[in-house]
Subunit: 579 residues, 2 copies
């Protein structure tokens, strides 16, 4: 039962489900549905897919997440960054607008869903850790810039294509003179209204008498209002005849469940993008879920989240949708509207289904420029250059990883940008640890504690060099270790003992073991004894599996104080007694 | 002057060069020359190049290394593993036997020489550290197996091709029935004699009255003896007419210096193999140089070695040779014969030049099977599976990296094998640090020292959870850190203080900083104070560049003892006083 609850969290909250919770969840679902319809349509457009696919991707995934997910407030569905990644990945294997394009998008959802499931069952969630905070943050910023730039084209009524910001700008510039005046005016006004509605609508509604919380939620209807007004205007003035691009026929009805055919070539071509989408979607979703859960002291199970998102994506694929994940803005609305259980998500799915059945004919005259404006307003909040400044100030290495992610994403597109970012983070980490900080340490008077001679008032013995190497001993720094100890000894001809204080040594790999052996032999040949101190339990266990401890000329001491006291007991005790 | 000496070590030893040293170096050069001629011819064969190219690669590089190198005993020239890597790289861009093939091999020497120079000037020698001990050892073992297997073909008088052990075996098996009897007998006898001469010739020579040292050196003439005898036999019995493949015309004379034309496509195609050859050659050479230098307490400057090997390879390319590096066996002979300065290498180059001028006609009837036998005997000592057993016993991660290097090299060839090995080492390191060892620590009675509660008899306070995380805080383990602290607190409801003891924390990157912030906020919301202790200087400097220290609910203490004493002074002092 316990493990069944682990894999089906619905059994936990479903057991206590009351009529009151039901009423609350239904109310929340209405609000989220109104917000989700425009987003679903817009992100389908962003992914280069027919509008109804956006609605399809907002039904089955929500129900599946309600069954498997551990977050009470997460709302899954199409989101900006994943939609962009979908567009890029699918455009590589099919032409936009063709049935093959749709097939590939569906396959992408299924593949990344399967990968998430697999990662969940094999406990491979740690893979997501390789997307460091600066890389994911830089990636989202660059994606936001790219999406917003790309959507300027439908707002101006021109064509643009390209897999990166630079590519899009390059393809847009020569077309700027072909902008359609009616489209441009409609797009700009929508954009202005949407931006205003984010900040100005709430005070206005408060002033009109709504409570603060209601006003906050009602202000989220800005996009729906924009859709309604621009659709009416376009219909009334027949703007389609003046070159305003409209949505046209959106097939109504519910998606048909079907198992997509397996095409080995297609799947092979989509493997890498599917993995990237799975990991990026997961990281985005889990961080939203953790943030919201922390506010109510609820728990998120990251491994179960992999399974839930995997199920949601497979569900999206089987019901004709494209890749989905937990989105920030809609989850926040869900949370603030008071969603108490994931059932709110399931009811939202019902709301979307009703919309798909009844509302699609009303969308015929909806200008694509309006959807583009909705996307732009949604993504500008993703662009966060303040974080870059902070990160750069804190750590140049992290700043460099973030900058290269942003720059490479803008120039080469999402996949290259992400991979370069991960590569740069890993490389810079290895580079840093290959030249670690090394401190010569001495005893702080009055204590048994040893610290850097350059930072603290300490006592040292002329016979002894005590070194604290602030790194694990492993292959990138094994040779550095040899050089450091050789140089330290060469600089102190009087030295008879070298003590390596090892509290910072978390690993000694086979390469470093060879180096320690070499160091021990060379010091021995020079008449110098090598000691170790504060070697941690797991490291001792490992060293015992080699012959190093037998070869070691000195001893392994529990503490640095013990090591010094065993060589120069007089000095050690005098220093301890001093004030 | 100092810096001139740094870049031209010849100025250091050249200043004290005496007539006695000269006489000694010339004697050493004679011995090494006799050994180097067969090796040079054999490795040219291994690389798929005309024989004289092997001689060319043993002249200019030796002179250049004598000028720039810091090792007194290193002998550079063609070596087995690099010759194999050359053959594989060049066969990808040209057909063996064509002038384009030679051009590509020459370009490869120049490119990897330039890369080594660049790495020397930019102090990028640390790149070589990424080849961990298990990876390079596994790579050399697998290369040895591949080379020995490939050379069975000329010994049997059959054809074989393939870029990996598996490929070679696959191409050889169907041809086994075509083996040429005369070639096979000649090859097998040569092989048997060479193996015997390594072990049996020395005792025989001692028995004949030579001193131990002379016998040791004279035993190295085994290959020359084999060449002389098999050449005579082949000539006398006209074995070429019976299908024994012979070397034929080797053009005599010295190489013409020429600057190879720059072909952008060719260079682009050779970039990755050139880098791998540069790094592998450098690692092999430096480890030989360090081993020999340690025996005489001499110093090696690893950065200058990059420059010296770079110059040697560029010299090889400009004089019609192929990639070279410092070889183990010839350097050991050089060392044991008593080489006192790198001038011995320059004199060896003269010896090789004389051979190129005078001896090549004598090589006409030399059977290729003899050269193959020389190669096999040279490389079987590279195959070292005992190291694998040791490494696997010491560390499963290192063992896995070594095993995957060996297996992938055997299956996919040298380049894939090496890259997979490096990738696996890095991945396993990151994986290990993503789930670090965490110890709950307590005070050891009678000391100020804190250790793992599970390994030592320690005293703890019910109010305090003291955790020592044995890892740097960085992106692969940032989320693990959050989970660990959440779980530790959840398991101890009485806890009011969490102390993170940080002696093992060598970095806190931007991702981990975010996690620490989150941890601090969540503990604060639960009424728990977060303290840090034993944070190292460089980490404090970095944390001060963020707002974290202002947000921290507790304090940063110099020692873990101070931290506990500030919360529960009574307990800390009582424990310190206890025995």
């Amino acid at each position: 039962m316990k493990s069944l609850q682990k894999y089906f969290p619905i059994l936990i909250w479903g057991a206590d489900y009351s009529r009151k919770t039901l009423a609350n969840d239904v109310m929340v679902a209405c609000i989220v549905t109104v917000m989700l319809i425009p987003q679903s349509l817009a992100y389908a457009l962003l992914a280069g897919l027919p509008m109804q696919v956006g609605l399809y991707a907002s039904m089955a995934p929500l129900i599946l997440y309600a069954i498997f997910g551990t977050s009470r407030a997460l709302a899954v569905g199409p989101v900006a960054v994943v939609s962009l990644m979908t567009a890029v990945a699918v455009a590589n294997v099919a032409t936009p607008g063709t049935p093959e394009y749709l097939t590939a998008a569906i396959a992408l959802a299924v593949i990344s869903g399967l990968m998430l499931l697999l990662m969940g069952f094999l406990r491979l969630g740690f893979l997501a850790n390789f997307l460091s905070h600066p890389v994911i943050s830089g990636f989202i910023t660059a994606s936001g810039i790219q999406i917003a730039t790309g959507q300027l084209a439908p707002i101006l009524g021109i064509k643009a294509h390209g897999e990166s910001f630079v590519g899009i700008v390059h393809s847009m510039l020569p077309n700027l003179t072909n902008a359609n005046l009616y489209t441009a005016v409609m797009g700009m006004v929508s954009l202005a209204f949407l931006f205003w509605s984010r900040k100005g609508l709430k005070p206005l509604l408060c002033w009109l008498g709504l409570s603060l919380r209601s006003a906050d939620l009602a202000a989220k209807v800005g996009p729906v209002l924009t859709i309604a007004i621009t659709t009416l205007v376009t219909w009334h003035f027949g703007l389609a005849d003046y070159g305003v691009s409209i949505v046209g026929v959106v097939p109504d009805g519910l998606p048909r469940l079907s198992i997509p055919g397996f095409d080995a070539d297609l799947w092979a071509a989509l493997l890498v993008p599917a993995l990237l989408i799975a990991v990026v979607g997961y990281v985005e979703s889990v961080s939203v879920a953790l943030t919201l859960a922390a506010k109510k002291r609820q728990r998120i199970d990251p491994d179960q989240e992999l399974i839930a998102l995997g199920a949601a994506n497979i569900g999206a694929g089987l019901s004709g949708g494209f890749p989905v994940t937990g989105g920030l803005s809609r989850s926040v609305v869900n949370f603030e509207a008071g969603a108490e259980t994931p059932a709110a998500g399931a009811f939202t799915a019902l709301g979307i289904a009703l919309a798909a059945l009844l509302l699609t004919p009303l969308l015929f005259f909806l200008p694509k420029a309006t959807l583009a404006a909705i996307i732009i307003v949604a993504v500008v909040s993703l662009v966060d250059l303040a974080t870059f400044k902070q990160v750069w100030h804190y750590s140049k290495a992290d700043g460099a990883a973030m900058a290269s992610t942003i720059v490479m994403t803008l120039i080469q597109g999402v996949e290259v940008g992400l991979l370069v970012g991960v590569g740069v983070s890993i490389f810079l980490h290895l580079y840093k640890t290959s030249k670690p900080h090394v401190a010569v340490v001495g005893q702080i008077p009055g204590t048994m504690h040893f610290r850097n001679v350059e930072r603290h008032q300490v006592v040292t013995s002329p016979d002894i060099v005590s070194l604290r190497v602030d790194a694990s001993f492993y292959f990138p720094n094994a040779r550095f270790l040899e050089d450091t100890i050789n140089n330290a000894v060469a600089a102190n001809p009087a030295v008879k003992h070298v003590i390596l204080e090892c509290p910072a040594v978390n690993t000694v790999d086979a390469t470093a073991l060879e180096s320690l052996r070499e160091i021990n032999h060379r010091l021995r040949d020079g008449g110098i004894t090598l000691h170790l101190s504060e070697v941690k339990g797991p490291i001792m266990d490992q060293l015992k599996r080699s012959t190093f401890l037998d070869e070691l000329t000195g001893k392994v001491h529990l503490t640095q104080f013990d090591a010094v006291a065993s060589i120069d007991p007089e000095l050690a005790r005098r220093t301890l007694a001093a004030e």
